[in-house]
Symmetry: C2
Subunit: 198 residues, 2 copies
Amino acid sequence: MTGPEIDRLIQLLAKLPGLGPRSARRAALHLLKKREALMTPLAQAIGRAAEAIRTCSVCGNLDTTDPCAVCADTRRDAALICVVEDVADLWALERGRVFAGGYHVLGGTLSALDGVGPEDLNIAGLMRRARNGVVREVILATNATVDGQTTAHYLADRLAEIEGIKVSRLAHGVPVGGELDYLDEGTLAAALKARRAM
Amino acid sequence: MTGPEIDRLIQLLAKLPGLGPRSARRAALHLLKKREALMTPLAQAIGRAAEAIRTCSVCGNLDTTDPCAVCADTRRDAALICVVEDVADLWALERGRVFAGGYHVLGGTLSALDGVGPEDLNIAGLMRRARNGVVREVILATNATVDGQTTAHYLADRLAEIEGIKVSRLAHGVPVGGELDYLDEGTLAAALKARRAM
């Protein structure tokens, strides 16, 4: 029905998260209709970003510089490291502008099911950084999933070996704007247990 | 937080239908992580498709050849023309493999609200094709929306001028697999009115 170039474009677009075969077709058609305004600029933008992208050798973030903009920013507190599973989590925290320390991207979680062990994650790098004499606190901000929490416990054990390092984790509780009626019992129990005086 | 190349990539991805700012970020991150396997091939595929794409001078389809693969296919019945609003509709009918005639893409519908008149659509081309002596039937397959049906009525009036041309439209009724309980009254009324003997 269409040329091989279009079929190939649809196939590749369908590999993006959030786009299935149907929406990939719609996206391809949208691109084809906006050749000058969108299609050519997008091809260039992807090509340029692909060339420019680097993995930060300090924290594992993806950026166009190495060390990344976060690690290179001297106004940030180098004594604080926030450990996250994925670059997406780092970006989410940065969007919130709530944290002004450094990050460390693990690149996943420990998972017995998927055969992911400590050597598969960026843990050696974290231990090295935690021993550099500057770091005072490591905040474990892995996801509140079983694998995320297992990984946090494992890291807390490993970091306990290093003297003078405080290890903390994100608070559990009711999300801001959340309704109790829609929350699971685990969250409610955690929020109750961690209640604070008003 | 990230380099300008990445910001630009996210901005352009967010312009694709089906991707908002949040999913564009996820898509960009997915691309950055799969640089060799997906990112570079996608940039090339978009670039190549942008270069190769043509609008068919006969029917208005988008393809890498002009006339398009549908118009160039001599096994198809040139006496039948199916009029659709958009290339996406043509692709949908072709996916169904239910029609073996030619198409004509209007490029939209008449719309008093949006100021779209007959001269803004590919109607002159349709009238020319309908007069070529080969065409025997024009099937109006515009959407079953107010604008789509208005356009169909307008085209039926125009085509009535040409002698020997049959004008038809798609049947209305219960979608295959559809449940009556979930259908609107308009569809139910149309399905009842167009009932057929079993």
